[in-house]
Symmetry: C2
Subunit: 557 residues, 2 copies
């Protein structure tokens, strides 16, 4: 994502006072988030963000706004997404930005935007903060995909406002931010109508958009805002979020980058460039948790699970975006399993509290980012670690895990153990809707039930291997060689083959909107993003806006 | 698939007397199909089929054998798949063949081999002809993927025999013929073990293969054949196929290719190279069906539904393989809806008859080939057509359909109509397990129930549009322009974007092994097949066997 050029790393940390592209206002239980993209506010030089088109910088702000709405505004039950401009809703991802981006940048950009749109849907389903889209002008491509992520789409019925997915006819690529999937799988638009719609550059407006199910409601332009506010108020009235709750401030995230070391309060990362490995150590809590929900609210963002989620989330985004050559992430943990379990118990006991719920959902989303990252993931489980409950999910998210059997010579610490907590059995479903344990034991669901009976037990390497929780359990004599060889071997494989292999093996079992988007739609888009018909000298994405016509190799593959 | 070179077209028509690579023997209720690939029997020059590796020619014979086992041998309830060579089971797809093939050829080759493996599974599930694999030597890559398609895998426990998916470490591509998917989704191999297995060039043998679920049974080499025969006899004893049934001969298929016209008895195809369109006209039956199952058996392969399936199947394979520049297939029908309905009624009434069942399943597989073809598909519904029941599926498989409203000036024939039959409601499920009608009305399942009440009715354009069965219904004044513009427009779009778009819009709803293989796994493989890390000068596929080492771009995408 450094785009082949020596550019400064992209920073995902932002706060509302520095927003350039979004205006957020709160009116009681309803928030209004207006997209008002600053034309000269692009993250990189070389393009102008005309017509409310977006680049990664715009989407980083959107992601931040989404997080702050959830944590900072317990009272908000509905969010109206609209445009702050008079004559345009959103023209989608900026084409010149895409045209000048490397393959890796495009793919990673789409992944992040997809995750944010999925989080919009999760906000509605699980945080009871429902997004409603008010379309007040042409809404095309990624603009309409943003609308599709909302629970309700209200469109102005005027001569100017339309919805469109013009990527195929205009750019020779796909609406790759979930558009095709949500069209037929979420909105259940009839497939032949979807086919027609996706080939219409100019899109569809008015009654036909309503009849085809592309929008939910059509109102005169003059009544759009009023209608959106009314629908939002209706939805917000049904939320379980506390009207009188006090929000949590998400203060600027402390991070130091010192050479190849990245450090946060609870997360440290050491990059080994020669081997292409990032060793990520997650620290457990250092103090016991507060006694109850009031204690969590009182602590705010230093509360360990929330601080951890923020730090790990930022690190994943940083590594994905700014360290594309580092192909293997190795997770370690350090700390006390007892303390991790105590925090897990608090989160489980307080699941009815809005803030405890938000923290769990944030951890869930962060763990899901690992699942869809195009990086190999290993876990190393050694003395001093605390792979318990929430942190055990890191090992379960790994492509493989190594656990040291027995003690290490000269190390007085006891042999390492794993520990299951209640949080391993439902708190953190993957994109396929299953827990990592259920995905792991798809062929033997009884194993998951058996493991429930072992919550809180310390499982040593033999027990963990027998339970199927770890891959390899070398002893002290073999450990160093076996781990070293595994890392070196991984580094020698084709990064692309690994990406395809991991994407296939990680998601057995049921498919959902999300797995379809990350598995099927993204894979096709990635393929198209490589094809000369899109990115060659005469490809659709390359010639857009130049006045030239595309020239396609007509062979169907 | 002409591979960029001026090669003779590939012909999918074959018969056992011309097999070069397979030996079929029948012993009562058990068949043995032995792979014995002729090294110098490749379809193209430039590679030798060593170690029982295969190319498209080998797979065309396998497909033919599968069909003939089903139609010619009602008595066979189990098929043992094994190797006819002493020291090797199968080394998978021939790498040099892949290395010298165009992108399009590779993708199309994988599609056809996938369809054949899916048909092996369908034979077990629906024809009650169960395939069992007896692995008698190293079984790697596509060889193991073939084993994975069987219901039971028995492996010799000797020092020589192993199973492996070495594509990622060895070739920088994926096991793309269903291997990754079947590993975790059919056999439910634990994901971390699958990860280890897929990175082991040398594969896994003996007890570990059994413990990990890679095979079902391990026996000494000396007892392999006996054990396979015993298991096959047990399975065959439970089949519902008639022990005393008489098979149907599938005689050589008559086809004429005259310039741009391809003709069979019931199917005609006219290719318009300038527009990139193949107009495919399917003829309805010309005589009424026989009265009962005995009549079907008496007729044999000229029986219209069977003859149609064979002809359409061959045409689809021919167009896919030999006409890659023809991006749009336009289906028409000609004939009597009454007669089509009469045949449909016979097939529905005789569903307990093994041959009627085979014919329905053949039609099902052929229609499924259309769904996964990387071609745009339109249907044109005009006076004289017979889009009824089984033939209506062609219109429902189309990306969009145009139906002429009212009569055509100067045409004395009545306005065209559509007709539903019982066969539209379950006989021909798509790869997602749903009928085309259910997939179409995913958001309104009640519509399918309503349509059941209209079986046998003639639906004119207005009624068909209202019922949601057709996309556009121009009248005589608009028809010519509207259809011409639609064809021209389609021809102008990027073939790649269309492929990705169609693959996404055609399969809403549930996912199955098959949709995962065609949607997710194939899309990733296609992407990897384009990447320099696989096919560039220093890519894994390119340098294989040259003694050179791959050099990879280490950036993860």
């Amino acid at each position: 994502m450094t785009d082949g050029r020596a550019l400064t790393p992209i920073d995902f940390r932002i706060e509302p006072s520095r927003y350039r592209h979004w205006k957020l206002s709160i009116d009681g239980r309803v928030a209004i988030l207006a997209m008002d993209v600053k034309e000269d506010g692009g993250l990189r030089p070389g393009y102008e963000l005309k017509l409310n088109s977006y680049d990664l910088g715009v989407d980083i702000e959107l992601y931040d706004a989404l997080q702050r709405l959830r944590f900072g505004h317990p009272e908000v039950g509905a969010v109206i997404l609209t445009s702050g401009k008079e004559r345009i809703f959103c023209a989608g991802a900026n084409i010149r930005m895409l045209g000048q981006s490397s393959h890796g940048f495009k793919v990673n950009f789409c992944k992040f935007t997809n995750e944010t749109r999925n989080a919009i849907e999760e906000a509605a389903a699980e945080s009871r903060q429902v997004w409603i889209c008010a379309i007040n002008g042409p809404c095309a491509g990624g603009g309409y995909e943003l609308a599709l992520a909302c629970e309700r789409i209200i469109m102005a019925d005027d001569g100017n406002t339309s919805v469109a997915l013009p990527e195929t006819p205009l750019l020779a690529v796909l609406p790759g931010t979930g558009g095709l999937t949500r069209l037929v799988d979420k909105r259940h638009v009839r497939r032949d109508r979807a086919d027609v719609f996706c080939t219409l550059e100019e899109g569809i407006k008015g009654k036909r958009a309503l009849d085809w199910g592309l929008v939910d409601e059509l109102v005169p332009r003059s009544r759009l805002e009023e209608t959106a506010r009314q629908r939002a108020a209706e939805v917000a009235a049904r939320t379980d979020r506390p009207a009188a709750g006090r929000g949590i401030a998400l203060r600027p995230l402390d991070r130091t980058i010192d050479g190849d070391r990245i450090a946060y309060a609870h997360v440290a990362c050491a990059i080994d460039r020669a081997r292409g490995v990032a060793e990520i150590t997650v620290g457990g809590p250092s103090v016991p948790p507060p006694a109850d929900a009031a204690g969590i609210h009182g602590l705010g963002d230093p509360f360990w699970p929330l601080a951890l989620a923020r730090q790990l989330d930022d690190l994943i985004l940083h590594l994905r975006t700014n360290e594309e050559q580092i192909g293997l992430w190795v997770f370690k943990t350090a700390g006390s399993a007892d303390l991790v379990e105590a925090y897990d118990r608090l989160l489980a006991d307080q699941q009815g509290d809005w803030l405890a719920r938000e923290i769990r959902l944030f951890l869930k989303r962060t763990l899901k980012r690992i699942d869809v990252s195009a990086r190999s993931v290993f876990a190393l489980i050694e003395p001093g670690s605390c792979f318990a409950g929430t942190l055990l999910e890191l090992a379960l998210a790994a492509d493989r895990s190594y656990m040291l059997a027995g003690a290490r010579e000269g190390d007085s610490r006891p042999p390492t153990t794993l520990r299951l907590t209640e949080m391993n059995f439902g708190a953190y479903p993957m994109a396929n809707g299953l827990t990592r344990l259920s995905s792991r034991f798809l062929g033997e669901p009884g194993r998951v039930d058996d493991l429930k009976g072992r919550i809180g037990q310390d499982l040593d390497a033999a027990a963990a291997a027998e339970a199927g929780l770890v891959t390899v359990t070398p002893d002290d004599i073999d450990w160093d060689d076996e781990v070293r060889l595994a890392l070196e071997e991984r580094a020698a494989f084709s990064p692309d083959a690994l990406t395809g292999m991991e994407a296939s093996l990680r998601f057995a079992g049921p498919e959902t909107l999300e797995t379809k988007i990350f598995g099927r739609l993204s894979a096709w888009q990635n393929w198209i993003f490589q094809r000369p018909n899109a990115v060659g000298a005469k490809g659709g994405l390359s010639v857009y806006g130049t006045g030239q016509r595309s020239e396609f190799d007509r062979r169907r593959v």
